[in-house]
C-alpha cells in the first residue's frame, strides 16, 4: 500500500480521513447538520453513517450552539468529536462554545482537561452565495489563544492534515474552502499524515515569495506559472496552519527572494495577512529589497452572483499584476 497514490477530490480526501480515523478509534465521532443522511453538504461524509452508526455519526439540528456545546461536552467525557459547522458564516452562533469553553478549559484546568475537538467548516467565495454564505472568517480564530487554525489547499493536505487534527488534543479549526471540494489531486492511499504547524513550499523560485492561503494557493501557482514565461521566478509558500505559524519556512523563503507578497481572501484589516507581513518585516527587514505588500479580499459583503464576486477576491490575474507592482516597488492595487 505504501506509496500508492489515487487521484481524488478534496471532498473525497476529507471523507477518507474521517473514515480512516473513525475506523481506527471508535471515540472519533462526527456531529453536524446533514453529515449523516446527506453525507455532508459536499459529500465529505458520504456512507459514514451506514458504516459507523448513529453513535459515531450524528445528524444534528440546525443549531450551532448545540453543535458547539455537544462537541465540548462529549470531548470533556473523553470522545474526540469532529464538529461540523456547515458554513463558516454560521459559526457566529457557536462562537461562545469555541472561544469561551473549548479554547479555555485546558489552561483553566491546569492541563487536566483536554479538548480534542476538530471544528470542520468551509468558507470563502466561489459558489455565488452572497454575503452570508461566502465569508473568510479565519482571522477570528487566529486571534484566540488556545486554538489551532488550519486551511488545507489541496486534496492531499486536506486528508493528511485532517487526520493529524483528529489525533491532536487541542481544539482545531479546520477551515476548508467551498470552491475546492471538487478539485482533484494525487493523494496517498491509506495512512497519510501531514503535520500541523508546518508550512509547505508549493513552488520554488528566486525573485519573490508569494505567501498564499487556502483557495489563493492555486491562483498563486497559476500566476507563478504565467509569470515564469515573463522570466519572473516566484516561490509560492502555503502556511497551511495559520496558527501556530511556521515562521521559519516563511522567513527563510523571503530571506532568499528578498521580496514578498501576502495573498489572502479575507480582508486585510486586523487580519492574519498583516500578522504574516509584520513577522516578515521584523525578521527580514535588512534583507528586503521592497516593502512586504498584501493583496487581500476587499472589505465588503460578498456581492451576489458570479460577475462581481470574482472582482472582490484575488485571483491569478490580480496576483500576476500585483507581483509586477511589487517588483517595480509600487503599491499593490487591491483586487
Amino acid at each position: 500500500m505504501s506509496g500508492e497514490m489515487q487521484n481524488i477530490t478534496y471532498g473525497e480526501a476529507i471523507r477518507q480521513a474521517i473514515d480512516e480515523e473513525m475506523g481506527r478509534d471508535k471515540n472519533v465521532v462526527m456531529m453536524g447538520e446533514d453529515v449523516g443522511r446527506w453525507g455532508g453538504l459536499y459529500r465529505a461524509s458520504t456512507g459514514l453513517l451506514e458504516k459507523y452508526g448513529k453513535d459515531q455519526v450524528k445528524d444534528m439540528p440546525i443549531a450551532e450552539a448545540a453543535i458547539g456545546g455537544a462537541a465540548v461536552g462529549t470531548a470533556l467525557m473523553g470522545l474526540r468529536p469532529i464538529a461540523e459547522i456547515m458554513y463558516i458564516d454560521f459559526i457566529a452562533i457557536a462562537m461562545d462554545q469555541i472561544v469561551n469553553h473549548a479554547a479555555k478549559w485546558h489552561q483553566l484546568s491546569q492541563g487536566q482537561v483536554k479538548m480534542p475537538i476538530v471544528f470542520t467548516t468551509q468558507g470563502g467565495a466561489g459558489r455565488r452565495n452572497s454575503s452570508q454564505h461566502s465569508q473568510s472568517l479565519e482571522n477570528w480564530f487566529v486571534n484566540v489563544p488556545g486554538l489551532i487554525t488550519v486551511m488545507p489547499s489541496t486534496p492531499a493536505d486536506a486528508k493528511g492534515l485532517l487526520k493529524s487534527a483528529i489525533r491532536n488534543d487541542n481544539p482545531v479549526m479546520f477551515i476548508e474552502h467551498k470552491a475546492l471540494f471538487f478539485d482533484k489531486g494525487d493523494v496517498p492511499v491509506g495512512e497519510h499524515l501531514v503535520p500541523l504547524g508546518v508550512a509547505d513550499v508549493k513552488r520554488t523560485g528566486k525573485d519573490i515569495t508569494i505567501i498564499a492561503t487556502s483557495w489563493m494557493v492555486g491562483f498563486a501557482l497559476e500566476a507563478a506559472e504565467k509569470l515564469a514565461e515573463d522570466g519572473i521566478s516566484c516561490e509560492v509558500v502555503d502556511p497551511v496552519t495559520l496558527w501556530p505559524l511556521d515562521t521559519e519556512t516563511l522567513i527563510n523563503s523571503v530571506k532568499k527572494t528578498k521580496q514578498c507578497l501576502v495573498v489572502t481572501e479575507a480582508p486585510a484589516a486586523g487580519g492574519w495577512s498583516g500578522e504574516a507581513a509584520s513577522i516578515i518585516n521584523e525578521a527580514c527587514f535588512a534583507d528586503l529589497k521592497k516593502p512586504v505588500q498584501r493583496l487581500c479580499g476587499m472589505r465588503t459583503g460578498m456581492p451576489f452572483g458570479p460577475i462581481h464576486e470574482r472582482k472582490v477576491v484575488p485571483g491569478a490575474e490580480s496576483i500576476m499584476e500585483n507581483v509586477k507592482q511589487v517588483l517595480k516597488g509600487k503599491e499593490v492595487c487591491q483586487s
Binding site: 448545540a66 456545546g69 484546568s109 491546569q110 483536554k114 491532536n168 503535520p195
Partner: protein, 325 residues
C-alpha cells in the same frame, strides 16, 4: 421525611449558608478578587439535590457555583481556595469565584450564562453511549432560560432522550432584571413543555420538596427516561453581586418578606417540631464553623500561582504527545 435525613439536609444548608457568609467576609477583605455572587437564600436546592447524586455523576453549574461545588462534597479548600485564587484551588487558582473545573470530582462551571445547557447535553450524549448509568445535572438560573443556548440545548437533549436533569434555580432576578418583566412565560417550566418534556415546578425553598424531586428525577434518568426539567422557585436574598445597586431594582420589603421564607428557617421549624433541641442546632453551627475556619486558615496560607503557572497550558505544543505531529 424522617428526622435524621432532614437533619442531614439541614446540616448541609447550614454549611452552605455559613460558607457563603465566610466568602462575603473574604470578599470584603479583598481575598476574592472578582465579583462575588452570594448564594444566600438558595441553599435548599443545592443541599436537597446534589447529595442525592453519585460521586461520578457530572454537575455543571453557573457563575454562582460555590454552594453547588460544596454540596458535591468537594473538599472545601479546593472550592474556597479556588475562589481566593490560591494554588490549592481545584483549578490551581486560575479560575476564581465564577469559573472553575474540578474533573476529579466531576464538577464544572462557568461565567457565561446559558452556555452550560448545550454542553450538558454534550456530556449526557457521551454518557448515554458509554457503558454507564451516570447522569449530568445542569444547573442554571432564570436568566439562562432567555438565551438561545437554552433552547438549542433543551431541544437536543429532548430529541436524543439524554440522561440530563435541567434544574432551573429561579431566584426571581437575572442580574437586575426581574423575572416577571423579562421572562415572557408565566412559568419557566412552561418553556420545557414545548420540547415535549413534562416539567416539574417545585418550591426551591423547601429542602424536603427538593430532595423528593431529586430522588424521583434521578431514578427516572437512570431508568432511561431522560431528560427531566425542574424549575425550583427560590429567591436571591443578596444582590446579583456583592455591592450591586439593589435599590435600583427592588424594594427592601420584598427582600424582608423572602428572608422570612428562608429554607433554613423552614427546615429548622420542622426539626424543632420533631424534637431537635437548641443544643443540637448549636452543635451543627459550631461544627460547620470549625470546618470553614479550618479551610479558611489553610487557604490563607497557600500561595498564589506563579506568573508562569498562570500562563501555562494555553495549548498543547505540537511537538509533545497529544499535540503529536
Amino acid at each position: 421525611m424522617d428526622k435524621d435525613t432532614l437533619l442531614e439536609h439541614y446540616r448541609m444548608m447550614v454549611y452552605l449558608r455559613r460558607f457563603d457568609l465566610a466568602c462575603t467576609q473574604l470578599k470584603l477583605k479583598d481575598q476574592i478578587f472578582s465579583g462575588y455572587h452570594a448564594t444566600m437564600g438558595q441553599e435548599a436546592i443545592a443541599a436537597g439535590f446534589i447529595p442525592a447524586l453519585n460521586d461520578d455523576d457530572v454537575v455543571f453549574s453557573t457563575h454562582r457555583p460555590h454552594a453547588h461545588a460544596a454540596a458535591k462534597n468537594i473538599p472545601l479548600p479546593r472550592v474556597m481556595g479556588e475562589m481566593m485564587g490560591r494554588t490549592c484551588g481545584c483549578s490551581g487558582g486560575l479560575g476564581g469565584a465564577m469559573q472553575f473545573l474540578d474533573p476529579q470530582y466531576h464538577f464544572y462551571c462557568g461565567s457565561i450564562v446559558g452556555s452550560n445547557i448545550p454542553i450538558s447535553a454534550g456530556v449526557a450524549t457521551a454518557l448515554k453511549q458509554g457503558d454507564t448509568d451516570r447522569l449530568c445535572l445542569c444547573l442554571f438560573g432564570d436568566g439562562a432560560s432567555n438565551t438561545g443556548a437554552f433552547h438549542e440545548g433543551l431541544n437536543l437533549a429532548a430529541i436524543w432522550k439524554l440522561p440530563v436533569i435541567f434544574l432551573c434555580e429561579n431566584n426571581q432576578y437575572g442580574e437586575a432584571m426581574p423575572v416577571k418583566e423579562f421572562v415572557s412565560a408565566p412559568n419557566i417550566a412552561d418553556r420545557a413543555h414545548s420540547y415535549g418534556l413534562k416539567p416539574w415546578q417545585i418550591d426551591g425553598n423547601d429542602v424536603v420538596a427538593v430532595a423528593e424531586a431529586a430522588e424521583e428525577a434521578i431514578k427516572k434518568i437512570r431508568a432511561g427516561e431522560g431528560p427531566i426539567f425542574i424549575e425550583a422557585i427560590t429567591y436571591r436574598i443578596k444582590g446579583h453581586y456583592m455591592g450591586d445597586p439593589e435599590h435600583t431594582y427592588r424594594e427592601k420589603a420584598e427582600v424582608d418578606m423572602w428572608k422570612k421564607k428562608s429554607p433554613l428557617i423552614r427546615a429548622k421549624k420542622t426539626l424543632t417540631e420533631m424534637g431537635v433541641t437548641d443544643a443540637e442546632f448549636k452543635k451543627i453551627n459550631k461544627d460547620v464553623d470549625a470546618t470553614i475556619a479550618e479551610a479558611e486558615e489553610y487557604c490563607l496560607a497557600q500561595p498564589y500561582p506563579t506568573f508562569e503557572e498562570s500562563i501555562a497550558h494555553v495549548d498543547i505544543p505540537l511537538t509533545v504527545a497529544g499535540g503529536t505531529n
